[in-house]
Symmetry: C2
Subunit: 344 residues, 2 copies
């Protein structure tokens, strides 16, 4: 009856969790998994509340994901998006598929009617049956923005733009000076989040973006403290293999907070739980650390040289194959997480 809690962003966290569920189905059918999902990428678009990471996890675990692109639904049309653009509305660089759109419409309707994001998420999951308890990190809106280093298009130097605009429109290829997370400091963890960390046997940081996904979750007041205090083992999986991001553009985010793009640097950025506060700055700002959060950190077999450095930093480490090529190879990674958690 192992209780496992995963702190996830979008695609990486979703795919890792799918592998974890397969592994558990084979080895520990009585286990239960809670996934706490980053909501810092959430946004309003055309009056609809979009929650990219929640939906990616829900669709991936519920069998409704577009496997090729990693987000959205398969075989979607852009007809409604195109119509919205014909009115001069929306963001031309961010289109909503016609099937995915229904999720946003239903969620927005629920939120406008007074439901919390937790309640709306639970409602949506009744359809998708993801096989986990899916929790937003917070019910309060937290929106990650980036501050532009230089003028670009209609934006001036120093302007804040939504993370999704930087990420999707500019593919993170314009320089930014900092992340600004509107609403973060006054947010509180959603119902069940702190309990899921406290009562877990194992907490996993999957290969999600360490800055704007896991870093954002860690920065919600109370969550880092819960990770430091839990009796659970805390094991992370490096999203960096051989000096570059497995997927996405985590390197651009790491650059912004001054962390090297390497498996060792990211593990040490999260820091050791045993460090008593001297290491561990892992978070979106890179300076908010109040002690590390990791017991163990898996790196890819090609990063075996990082193991000694991590262990010198108080973090148990092992080098194992970390490419999530398919569900089966991802289940093998989850098996390594379970294995190392038994050693710490």
């Amino acid at each position: 009856m192992t209780k496992i809690t995963v702190l996830a962003g979008g695609v990486g966290g979703a795919r890792f969790t799918r592998g974890l569920l397969q592994e558990l189905a084979n080895t520990d059918a009585g286990s239960s998994v809670t996934v706490i999902v980053n909501t810092g990428d959430d946004m309003w678009l055309d009056g609809l509340r979009i929650c990219p990471d929640l939906d990616t996890v829900m669709y991936t675990l519920g069998g409704g994901i577009n496997e090729e692109q990693g987000w959205g639904r398969p075989d979607e049309s852009r007809r409604t998006s195109t119509e919205i653009a014909a009115y001069g509305r929306g963001w031309p660089w961010f289109t909503l598929g016609d099937l995915d759109l229904a999720t946003h419409i239903v969620r927005t309707d629920l939120l406008r009617s007074g439901s919390t994001l937790s309640e709306a998420t639970e409602f949506l999951c009744r359809r998708w049956q993801p096989g986990v308890t899916l929790l937003p990190m917070s019910d309060q809106p937290v929106e990650t923005h980036v501050r532009l280093a230089a003028a670009v298009d209609e934006h001036a130097a120093g302007d804040l733009i939504h993370f999704e605009e930087w990420w999707v429109r500019y593919r993170a290829h314009v320089e930014v000076t900092e992340f600004v997370q509107i609403g973060l400091e006054t947010s509180t963890a959603a119902p069940g989040v702190l309990e899921a960390i406290r009562d877990a046997d194992l907490v996993i940081l999957p290969p999600s973006n360490p800055v704007v996904s896991v870093g954002t979750i860690l920065a919600v007041p109370g969550i880092r403290e819960a990770l430091r205090a839990t009796r659970a083992r805390v094991v992370g999986v490096s999203p960096i293999i051989g000096g570059s991001a497995v997927r996405g553009m985590a390197d651009h985010c790491l650059n912004v907070i001054g962390v090297e793009t390497s498996a060792a640097a990211v593990g040490l950025h999260y820091g050791s739980r045993g460090s008593g506060g001297v290491s561990g700055t892992g978070g979106v700002s890179g300076t908010g650390g109040v002690g590390g959060v990791l017991d163990a950190w898996l790196v890819d077999e090609t990063d075996a040289a990082a193991v000694a450095e991590l262990e010198a930093g108080g973090i148990r480490s092992a080098a194992v194959p970390l490419w999530m090529r398919d569900v089966s190879s991802t289940a093998a990674i989850a098996r390594e997480v379970l294995a190392i958690s038994a050693l710490v």
Copy 2:
């Protein structure tokens, strides 16, 4: 430079106005047309504000209507609607096409951001260029409901249900005892509405539903009085031909307010402007009359016997072909409206 104002519901009013515009293009290119549209059928569905009559008029005049069904856009998919239904939301009997959906999303976004319905309508019309000034009858929400005579499905006898549910789900085939228009008494005419009636040379009541379309517009405080006071001629076109509704189910609505389904009865229900208040009960309740609103009333050639009855009631009348088979035959009806308006 004739100024013409039309009081319209959905399909009938939209198609009539399209014919009117063709007639004016040929004979009076300097004229201007304002269409005041019923908003009593408006509703919230899945958190989106739906304005069936405004959209039907806008699409019809802007070249975006589904000609066959008379509402919505051509070649739409129901994929998003089907997804919403998969969540157990929406009304299974009322689906939103994927193209039409964009209009509702943009309008709702504008309304939620503080725009009035007039402003949102003006914004949407920038795309569609309907060739008229399109005005909602009111910026305040007015929603027509019907009171059920007997229990049906999940509703009890005496329950109020939204007009669209009665109309679309039950095809008006369950008995109702009255129309109840929530918000009507405290509503005010939208900006420009009373002026468009006051300053017109000609006001036209097209073959729209006399109870829930034109009747609702007339019941907005101030509109009937404006029609009584305007220097314009007021000419109506019968939506009843040979004892039945040209389109839709106006007979069911007329039954509810105790008016016979005949061209003469509907004309007399609107009443003569010259009657000084003794005739004219035209409105949704059938009892709200404070004097009639018509100078003239066109009936179909098959209803020629009604002409004498109407003229005895103080309403100039003529029997002419009233079937709107296509734009050209509809333009001919508009020509008859212009002709009779010159005689009163």
